[in-house]
């Protein structure tokens, strides 16, 4: 019986000869990271264990991205914990001038690579699965222990294969594919399992769109999302990867818990209604939903391609008076590219505000919080109750194309209406 890419990666990181699905095993990790929310707790765990040194200083990193630039005294205290620990342990530490939202920053810096087993104390860790790595979100205790031992306990997961066929419609990208997929299987449709995205559409999909898809695997409850590395991946890694890496591919006779085929020609731009990412409708079914805010950014859609799409739509257009449009490049590098390509000028001239890289409003932290009764369209990944502010505010999830178009019209709209 053949093996899936996930099983091959786990096997190569364990002492076992064979793996049984559902079995609990210990595995060695290649990389571990935490942020300004989960990091302080992980450091506390590390210290309680009595460890003096992290297992490998090149394989652990801390990124202050959620509430930075520090939004208040308490967040500043948390960031300080990360900073001091990083200095003490001689770790790479990212904040402000160096920062980016962790899941965009790690691949960009070449810190995570194909074939790696990665754990991160953040639920969107699966994003790096787009490079053909197994990248799993854990809690702070797991992370603190892994910083000490270089190991994690794992249940060998089942995999679900998603085969995408056909040509993408205009304005349809990774965000729409993954929202559509979540709406088909539900927010717990992949609980405990790995979602393997494959098929001819994925083969032709850009790396930024692949990141977006793997990013949202957790929104179906998955342990991770994964896409086999190919030429597009290797092209992306050129100039970034300093270490060797392994490309694993699923065997043709690998066993899947389910194989789901999706014809992408049937998919139009998607909008997820409050308060779950599975509540999707095609844009043609969305009528007259006025918005107060539009957010383009986050670990889901804050990459350069997302910035380019937003600029394409905002160019020679004006943001509607009733809307706050907040654009957040996910990393300093993306910010710089957007500057050099003239995108920031387009944003500002249209009436948008550009924020420094941060999670900010995505989790209701700062830089764009909603008041009672306000409504936002957002390229982020969660529209849970109170996620962006007041418990009685509303979030609709969509692609950068929809978020940009909606900012212009003041209601949730297709780019076709403004271009």
């Amino acid at each position: 019986m053949g093996k899936s890419i996930t099983e091959k990666i786990i096997l190569s990181h364990s002492d076992k000869k064979e793996l049984k699905r559902g079995e609990l095993i210990k595995a060695r990790i290649d990389f571990a990271f935490a942020n300004d929310i989960t990091g302080p707790l992980a450091i506390n765990v590390f210290e309680r264990i009595g460890s003096k040194e992290v297992f490998d200083k090149n394989k652990v990193t801390l990124i202050a991205d959620h509430f930075t630039p520090n939004k208040d005294i308490k967040s500043a205290e948390q960031t300080k914990v990360l900073k001091e620990f990083s200095r003490e342990q001689n770790l790479n530490y990212y904040e402000l001038g160096q920062v980016g939202i962790e899941h965009a920053l790690l691949p960009e810096k070449g810190l995570v690579l194909p074939g790696y087993l990665i754990i991160g104390a953040d639920s969107h860790t699966p994003t790096s699965g787009a490079l053909g790595a197994l990248s799993i979100g854990v809690g702070s205790t797991d992370l603190g222990v892994a910083m000490a031992t270089g190991e994690v306990w794992l249940k060998v997961p089942e995999s679900m294969k998603f085969l995408y066929k056909g040509k993408l419609n205009k304005w349809v990208g990774g965000k729409d594919l993954v929202l559509y997929t979540i709406s088909k299987i539900g927010v717990d449709g992949a609980n405990y399992r790995v979602m393997e995205f494959a098929g001819e559409t994925i083969k032709n999909l850009s790396i930024d769109n692949r990141f977006t898809m793997c990013n949202m695997a957790i929104e179906a409850g998955a342990k991770s999302g994964i896409i086999e590395a190919d030429e597009i991946t290797e092209e992306y890694l050129k100039g970034r990867a300093e270490k060797e890496y392994n490309i694993f591919k699923s065997d043709l006779d690998a066993e899947y818990e389910q194989v789901i085929e999706i014809n992408v020609a049937d998919i139009e731009p998607q909008v997820a209604f409050p308060h779950l990412p599975e509540n999707c409708k095609g844009i043609s079914e969305v009528k007259d939903i006025l918005i107060d805010q539009s957010v383009i950014g986050s670990c889901t859609n804050g990459r350069i391609e997302d910035m380019r799409i937003a600029a394409e739509i905002l160019k020679n257009n004006k943001v509607n008076k009733r809307v706050r449009l907040i654009i957040i490049p996910a990393t300093q590098q993306i910010y710089l590219e957007a500057l050099e390509e003239g995108l920031l000028k387009i944003f500002i001239e249209s009436g948008a505000i550009v924020s420094p890289p941060t999670c900010g409003p995505c989790l209701g932290g700062h830089m764009g919080i909603l008041a009672k009764g306000e409504r936002a369209i957002s390229t982020t990944n969660r529209n849970f109750v109170g996620r962006m502010g007041h418990p009685e505010s509303e979030i609709y999830l969509a692609s950068p194309a929809i978020a940009a178009a909606s900012a212009i019209t003041g209601k949730i709209s297709s780019p076709e209406e403004v271009i």
Binding site: Q78, K223, G365
Partner: protein, 169 residues
């Protein structure tokens, strides 16, 4: 270990933003986190619960973020355990790792009502509803996880593991 307490009933997909909203994550102080536990769902929850009370929920409890602050807030609020039809993956790990007992039981999720008194016998995998005089089953935990909980969570377990290895070397 026998757990006994009154039921607080919740629905499906109770996410970590409901358990502890992100606006309070600028601290990791358990007491402070507990003060805001479930407040966007029921702002009086924390005022009205008594130590030992039990959360009973539907599918996918704890979905969303990886914040360990969620099980910590629940534990610190005095909740003795969570019973749900199913749990989201990261919440499940986190609860075990910090030593918050959790049980998967569809029967309890369907049968138990708000305010019912439950008594749980984890080793036997049985949950008794004293108020309604019914018995429910729960899935037994794998041995590895039972050991983890018996050691007092992952930190204690790892400490022992490290000592054991040092002796071997």
């Amino acid at each position: 270990m026998i757990i006994k307490g009154k039921v607080w009933k919740f629905g499906d997909h109770i996410d970590t933003d409901i358990i502890i909203p992100a606006r309070y994550l600028n601290t990791s102080d358990p007491n402070e986190l507990a003060l805001h536990c479930m407040e966007d769902y029921d702002k009086d929850f924390i005022k009205n619960i008594s130590p030992g009370d039990i959360i009973v929920a539907g599918d996918n409890f704890g979905c969303g973020s990886s914040r360990e602050h969620a099980p910590i807030a629940i534990k610190e609020a005095g909740v003795s355990c969570v019973i749900a039809k199913s749990f989201a993956r990261i919440f499940f790990r986190n609860a075990i790792n910090i030593g918050l007992p959790i049980f998967e039981s569809s029967e309890t999720s369907l049968g138990a009502l708000q305010g019912d008194e439950l008594e749980i016998f984890p080793e036997k995998g049985i949950i008794k509803n004293i108020t309604q005089n019914e018995l429910y089953n729960t899935n037994p935990m794998p041995i590895f996880i039972q050991n983890l909980i018996a050691s007092g969570g992952l930190v204690e377990y790892t400490k022992k593991e490290i000592e054991r290895r040092q002796i071997e070397y």
